[in-house]
Amino acid sequence: MVRIGVLLVILYPSWINAEEKKVLNGLQVHGFLSQGYIKTTDTKNDVFGDSSSGKGSFDFREIGVNASHRPITNLQFSMQLLSRQAGESSKGGIRIDYGFLDYTAITSETKELGVRLGRTKNPLGFYNDTRDVPFTRPSILLPQSIYFDRTRNLGMASDGVQIYGESRNDWGDITAQFGVVFPQVDNKNTEAAIFQKSQPGELTPRLSYIGRIIYERDGGRFRFGISGAQVNAGYDPAEKGDKLSAGSLEFIPLIFSLQYNAERWSFTSEYALRHIDMKNFHNPVLDRSFTGESYYFQGIYRFNPQWEAVVRYDAYYADRKDRDGDEWNAFTNELNNFKGGRPAHSRFAKDLTLGLRWNITPSIMLRAEYHRVNGTGWLSTLDNPNSTFTDQHWNLFAAQASYRF
């Protein structure tokens, strides 16, 4: 025992030195871990597992680990592995969340221009880049009208080239990113969100474009952003028994973001238009072109560094020309030979959220929140396969414990 102790004392300083060298060499490792709980009440609607059952659902976990290495000042390698369990749509496998090489070609005290090669997070709105990291979110569930969890894989990250630039001036900082990429569409989650259910054929990624400009004043007191994308995908029908033909999908989201940060208050609002154009599937429910609309207003109040409260109103409309979903109901009813259409309330969702956050230490956080929701617009079709069995008015209670390093 004593020998080991002595050995440790001798080794300790050199180990510390090695550690320090490594740190200064620019290798960093960070990560996070969370366990959530969701209970939906007075309803059959399920969110992240069997949340409407008596005891609620613990089927919500997020684990992520990332490493970054900066061997020289203008070159960085980064990768994050993510495992997410959230009901039927995320089943907990390990995936590469991002992995890329970042080279800053031009850099000065006030300007920067560079390129990223590989899988990068999609720069959309204020929260998409770090959407799975509980500490960076304003609430347990992000405003679902814009950051829907049911098409998350399509929106999360993509593979290709991203150019970025930054300009810092007395009148503010501008950060811009533009990417030419292939979206991640080859998964059940995206299929279910686009086709309402899993299909025998496969979605295939096509060349897509994505970009964001953020203007920040007074070191981020005021932040304003515009982001947009043109996401393209095709459909490869299965050789046998596929009712769909080789159609194509074009998804054009446009998001305006605004934030004001005071010492105790932060106010955030985002407004999004989503144009969806689907054609050549030879299916009247799918071959449509429409524009959806979403927005939220969110206030955060910090009582002290440990406690904060959030209140938010979040609205989603699948089709801005059919806000109450009546036309959709009538249209699907007609297709069903008037034996009943899909519910009108599946075309919108208005969510009032109240939440509390407790930072027990800078690396341990507890959260709880309540959602009063009118509509099922962003409810997962994988967790709720039959839309006629969903309820228009429902409540959701969520709690989450998170750790970071």
């Binding site: 992520g64 000042t73 980064s78 005290e109 900082d173 106010f267 910090r302 560094p305």
Partner: protein, 150 residues
């Protein structure tokens, strides 16, 4: 449809107006004032507030001569960190934290070096080429160099 968008903008405007009238807090302290310090080899003596923000925001990574900048900070809840953020950067500590987290968890940047005491900031800044940190004026000796913020 245009009406809806105007409604949205009106709501937004009202809320912003509301925020605008909340009194701003200023936390200037004359005693124990905080200073930005660098390793003596750093080839800079004056820096604009913008550049200082970019450095502590982990977005400006090299000094003018191309050598890497190494940023040392105290924990988020340390009173001196709070004072430094407000007085020298003119932002709030939670804003720095979210800016760092956006970089760390999207792979587009790295975190500053976290140390636990002012004494540790002093020794690490004094011994690390390219280092930058902050200290109370009373704790500054000639092993490190004060950086003037314009």
């Amino acid at each position: 449809m245009a009406v809806r968008f105007t409604d949205y903008l009106c709501c937004l405007f009202l809320l912003l107006l509301l925020i605008g009238v909340t009194p701003a807090t200023s936390g200037t302290l004359d005693s124990d004032s905080v200073e930005v310090v660098v390793h003596p080899s750093v080839p800079v003596r004056n820096l604009s507030r913008n550049s200082l923000r970019a450095i502590f925001g982990m977005r400006l990574r090299a000094w003018q001569d191309g050598s890497p900048i190494r940023v040392f900070v105290l924990p988020d809840e340390a009173p001196l960190h709070n004072l430094f953020a407000k007085e020298k950067l003119n932002i709030f500590p939670y804003q720095l934290r979210s800016a760092w987290d956006r970089l760390i968890f999207s792979g587009t940047g790295q975190a500053p070096f976290l140390v636990n005491s002012e004494e540790e900031i002093r020794t690490r800044v004094a011994s690390t080429p390219g280092a930058i940190g902050y200290l109370k004026r009373v704790n500054i000796d000639d092993t490190i160099q004060i950086l003037h913020i314009e």
